[in-house]
């Protein structure tokens, strides 16, 4: 069991997309606990990738292929996760704000939220405020989650909050934000309900906001 999880962890770190699918299938067939696969294999593996990136050992290509491997593993794992039906924890719409094409972090947050039982509607990147509003009207989510990686696009989080307010939707949803230049102080400044520094904290935050 330990070995299976270690193999999955390694597949994430090495970005082995084929290998990870086989490993996850085998682990599930052998009865390895799905949430252990998620937490100790995938999430821990992605944490290691993040660490290697920070240390200058990994660069963007390694990060991207690791995220791809994690995504295909999640697709296999999702139906087995003990979090009940998909969406049991609540519904989240997520996107990277207008003008910003960085989606690696946002995708990770989305994957981890799914892993934790949230139904996630991903609006993609470069998402204008109107699209957040329209999606909120259409999907009636519990949480609107925004990501931004540029100091020049952070401000579009503020205009999205304002647009939700304008549309009379502000008190129907919780708003959470994240991304490298974003801070807790910025979240309060623009009237968001919370900020998370990384994907695991984003899950904890979404849970607390919907509790």
């Amino acid at each position: 069991m330990e070995e299976r999880i270690k193999a999955i962890f390694d597949c994430v770190v090495n970005g082995d997309n084929k290998g990870i699918q086989a490993e996850v299938e085998t682990a599930l067939a052998e009865g390895v606990n799905p949430s252990a696969i998620l937490n100790e294999g995938l999430i821990a593996g992605m944490g290691e990738v993040g660490r290697l990136f920070e240390e200058g050992e990994f660069f963007v290509p390694e990060m991207l292929i690791a995220a791809r491997a994690m995504k295909s593993a999640m697709a296999i794992l999702k139906p087995h996760l003990g979090s009940g039906e998909v969406g049991a924890a609540g519904k989240v719409i997520i996107g990277t704000v207008k003008g910003d094409l960085h989606d690696i972090g946002k995708n990770l947050v989305g994957l981890m939220l799914e892993g934790a039982g949230f139904q996630v509607v991903d609006l993609g990147s470069d998402v204008p405020a109107e699209k957040f509003v329209a999606a909120t009207q259409e999907h009636a989510p519990n949480v609107v989650a925004m990501s931004a990686l540029l100091t020049t696009t952070m401000v579009n989080m503020k205009s999205t909050v304002a647009a939700l307010e304008e549309a009379g939707l502000r008190d129907k949803v919780k708003i959470m934000i994240g991304g490298a230049p974003v801070t807790d102080a910025y979240a309060s400044q623009i009237g968001a309900d919370g900020y998370a520094a990384d994907a695991s904290r984003a899950v904890a935050l979404a849970k607390s906001l919907t509790a």
Partner: protein
């Protein structure tokens, strides 16, 4: 190939002074954070012209057009694709207007497309090449002296960019990378890879612009110089942005310090020197004084 003023000046052997930052300086002059600096070519051309003039006055021998993000791809994301020709044409005219009197040269700035090229991203290499060709065509047609493919991080995109530029014009080309992970680019490209690939492709100079710190940029300069006889373009950023209590930004390296360091850039063999993000006209003046005083 027609005679090139840029190549002549470069061949004369004296180091040339480039310009400083566009975006961060326009921000201190009122460009709202969140608005790309390229937009001011159309919305506030007086401010763009004034900044060009400040650099010329501070001692630039070559200034760059405010077209870093004026590819069709970038403008398209902002819903401004139909103004592609207009903004590139006007940007060259503004730079030319500032350069004219002083006999200063104009470089056409071409920044990354902002989307990743295949296989990691979804932009096809041929499309990337065509986008660079289209913008280079406009810049050349409107009268720049040299094209500068700058702040690159991916060998595939930069190579496509060079092919595109070559397709559009015979003007000389500089290719400059941003080593913002220390001495590697965000994609992991090493100085040696840049030198190897682009010296074989016959660029007029290879370059280093923007990164984490002046010191790390300098290390890259030393590495590059050791590997090639090509002219080296060097535009480090004035350190990293720090936040004032009121939320406005300032850069950690002062003009004096930048001027001080410019001495070592020349000693290390840089041939074209200026600054990137955070480099104000005062920083540039300090650099120019060192270069011209040599």
């Amino acid at each position: 190939m027609a005679k090139s003023l840029f190549l002549e000046r470069l061949a004369a052997g004296k180091p040339l002074v480039l310009d400083g930052a566009t975006g961060t300086n326009l921000q201190t002059r009122g460009l709202p954070v969140g608005t790309p600096s390229d937009f001011w070519v159309m919305d506030n051309p007086e401010a763009v012209l004034a900044l060009h003039r400040d650099f010329v006055e501070a001692g630039s021998d070559l200034i760059l057009t405010n077209t870093f993000g004026s590819s069709r791809v970038h403008l398209g994301h902002a819903g401004l694709a139909e103004r592609f020709e207009e903004t590139n044409r006007l940007a060259v005219a503004l730079a030319r207007q500032a350069a004219e009197t002083a006999g200063v040269m104009v470089g056409g700035s071409l920044g990354p497309l902002g989307e990743m090229v295949e296989p990691l991203g979804s932009l096809a290499e041929a499309d990337a090449q065509a986008e660079y060709a289209a913008q280079a065509h406009l810049l050349a047609e409107n009268g720049v002296d040299v094209l500068v493919i700058e702040t690159q991080f991916d060998l595939i995109e930069a190579r496509a960019a060079l092919r595109g530029v070559r397709f559009a014009t015979d003007l000389p080309v500089v290719v400059s990378f941003s080593y913002d992970r220390g001495t590697r680019t965000m994609m992991g490209v090493k100085p040696a890879q840049m030198v190897q690939v682009f010296s074989e492709l016959g660029v007029a100079a290879v370059g280093i612009n923007c990164g984490r710190s002046v010191e790390e940029n300098f290390k890259v300069l030393q590495e590059v110089r050791a590997l090639t006889d090509l002219p080296v373009w060097f535009k480090p950023n004035a350190g990293l942005p720090l936040t004032n209590p009121d939320g406005s930004l300032y850069y950690s390296v002062t003009p004096d310090l930048m001027g001080e360091q410019a001495r070592s850039w020349l000693a290390a063999g840089a041939n074209l020197v200026g600054g990137c993000c955070g480099t104000s006209p005062s920083h540039l003046r300090a650099i120019a004084q060192v270069v011209k005083g040599q």
